[in-house]
């Protein structure tokens, strides 16, 4: 197998080869490590490459499979993990200077589960400082670059994960999503990104302070929807170590892969997303809607009366919760924060308790409105990011010009880039981004599919049906 072969391959395609011993996990892992060695200096997708761990795991997988003890489709599969998810014995910084030397003595539950499924852990992926932004321009560990155009960002905060999957520096990645941090990198890097329902995955082993206690989620980035379902199957389910984790049965997600979209009802949220999309995104979104209708899905409009309050609800809740987690570090190492983040955290400490509680009450109204809408339709369809990846320079200057308008990339509430994704951190509903086309200058665009609580299966079904009917999943960035 060559690097070129690897670019086109998915977990679903590689797993049968590993199972039948046509492909060695050691060979696959060495190929990924070689590719990381060649491309990571350019992309800065990884902050730590766990070569020794990966080689040991690959060797163990090969021996186990050789003995006839095949564990399933993740066995021998190289995976990466975001910097704010604990791996025992591996530095876990959350993209911060504060935790630059911290080495956890435990695995996050989702890491424990991918290890149990036989996956090979390649390393830690770069992220925005403390996950508090959407560019992965990190002052301490470097700027992750978008594999489709290296003058552009890979979004964030799981930018390293998005770039690593898009550039075939791993087969899938585990990330976190507090306002769109899995789905936006997936969108601008042309890969699949899933934020499951709040409580579907254990959050044990996530670094406190890199998201709100009730808004942050673990998630998955992968090349295809089918691969995403394989990883979700391995990591979903109750964990008594996380009080937020739900004791809900985990379905067989493979049953949703290949199931038709015909007859499913798709909801469009009235008066929210129309003004958010730049022209290229609008065109791709409309085409995706046409495609799903051609597959037999029915489209309806739904109303969320308090949708306009989403931005203050999200900002108030996530900032209040997140600030409380930073108190120990503020007391001991305040100057380890970049100046902008220190300001944001301290200003968040001034949000009155009454305002926080009011936001939680409005949140209930909004959640009830979404539950009502989702009693009428099976899924909701929205754009993921309202625009394709901005350049690194545009992010630094704080605005972009699109369709003749200046759009701020800084905001008091939800950043413009997260207007499509943050609503589902407030509601906790499952949401997946899948590539739905490219801009005129070749940048990926994402389509977001949102389901009912614990309805990841239907989300995967619609996304897979759409993906199978289009050619986008076959496109890869040119990184020769």
């Amino acid at each position: 197998m060559t690097e070129k072969d690897l670019e086109g391959m998915t977990i679903a395609e590689l797993a049968p080869q590993i199972r039948s011993k046509k492909l060695s996990p050691v060979e696959l892992t060495e190929l990924c490590l070689k590719r990381i060695g060649r491309l990571n200096p350019l992309l800065v997708a990884y902050t730590t490459v766990t070569e020794d761990l990966a080689r040991a795991q690959a060797q163990a997988a090969e021996s186990q499979i050789g003995r006839g003890d095949y564990l399933g489709p993740l066995h021998g599969m190289p995976i990466s993990v975001k910097e704010n998810i604990c791996i025992q014995g591996v530095r876990t910084t959350a993209g911060s200077k504060t935790l630059a030397e911290w080495v956890p003595d435990h695995d996050a539950t989702i890491v424990e589960r991918i290890k149990k499924a036989g996956a090979v852990v390649l390393g830690k992926t770069n992220m925005h400082e403390w996950a508090a932004g959407g560019t992965t321009i990190n002052p301490f560990y470097g700027t992750t670059r978008n594999p489709w155009d290296t003058s552009r960002v890979a979004a964030g905060s799981s930018g390293g994960s998005g770039a690593a999957v898009a550039a075939s520096l791993c087969l899938a990645s585990l990330g976190t999503d507090n306002g769109g941090s899995v789905r936006n990198p997936a969108s601008v890097c042309g890969v699949v990104g899933l934020k499951p329902t709040f409580g579907r995955l254990s959050h044990f082993g996530g670094v406190d302070g890199s998201g709100g206690y009730s808004t942050d989620h673990f998630g998955i980035l992968s090349k295809t929807v089918s691969d995403c379902s394989v990883v979700l199957q391995a990591i979903a389910g109750y964990d008594p170590k996380d009080p937020r984790c739900a004791d809900e049965p985990v379905p067989d997600y493979a049953k949703f892969i290949g199931a038709p979209a015909k007859g499913l009802k798709i909801g469009l949220i009235e008066n929210y997303f129309d003004d958010l999309m730049v022209r290229d995104v609008r065109t791709a979104f409309d085409r995706a809607l046409d495609q799903l209708q051609a597959l037999g899905a029915e489209v309806e409009t739904v109303t969320i009366p308090h949708m306009e309050l989403m931005s203050p609800v999200w900002a108030c809740i996530t900032r209040s919760e997140n600030a409380s987690a930073h108190v120990p570090y503020l007391k001991t190492r305040p100057r380890d924060y970049s100046p902008g983040l220190l300001s944001q955290i301290v200003s968040s400490m001034l949000i009155p308790a009454g305002t926080y509680m009011t936001a939680q009450r409005v949140r209930r109204l909004i959640c009830d409105e979404f539950d009502e809408a989702l009693s009428q339709v099976d899924v909701l369809l929205t754009p993921t990011s309202p625009m394709a990846a901005p350049t690194i320079e545009e992010c630094k200057q704080g605005f972009v010009i699109a369709d003749g308008k200046q759009i701020s990339l800084r905001d008091t509430g939800v950043n413009f880039r997260s207007m499509g994704t943050a609503p589902f951190n407030v509601t906790g509903l499952p949401a997946l981004s899948v590539c739905c086309g490219f801009t005129a200058n070749g940048l990926p665009i994402g389509l977001q599919i949102v389901g009912r609580a614990f309805g990841e299966g239907t989300v995967l079904q619609v996304a897979n049906a759409y993906e199978a009917a289009t050619e986008w999943k076959h496109k890869r960035p040119s990184l020769s």
Partner: protein
């Protein structure tokens, strides 16, 4: 608001200078303006959402 920032700075020994205090106070004021939108009549009688949102 500047006084509140100054108090936090002293309480946590952040050592913020006047320029930082000014900037943070301004950010907090801008956020408070945004959050005023939350005080709407239709939440009368609505209970806050507990943290385990989807197990409620």
């Amino acid at each position: 608001m500047k006084e509140a920032v100054r108090q936090i700075s002293e309480q946590y020994r952040l050592g913020l200078n006047e320029e930082e205090i000014q900037r943070i106070a301004q950010q907090a004021e801008e956020a408070n303006v945004l959050f005023q939108q939350l005080f709407i009549d239709s939440i009368d009688g609505v209970m806050p959402l507990p943290i385990v949102a989807r197990n409620r």
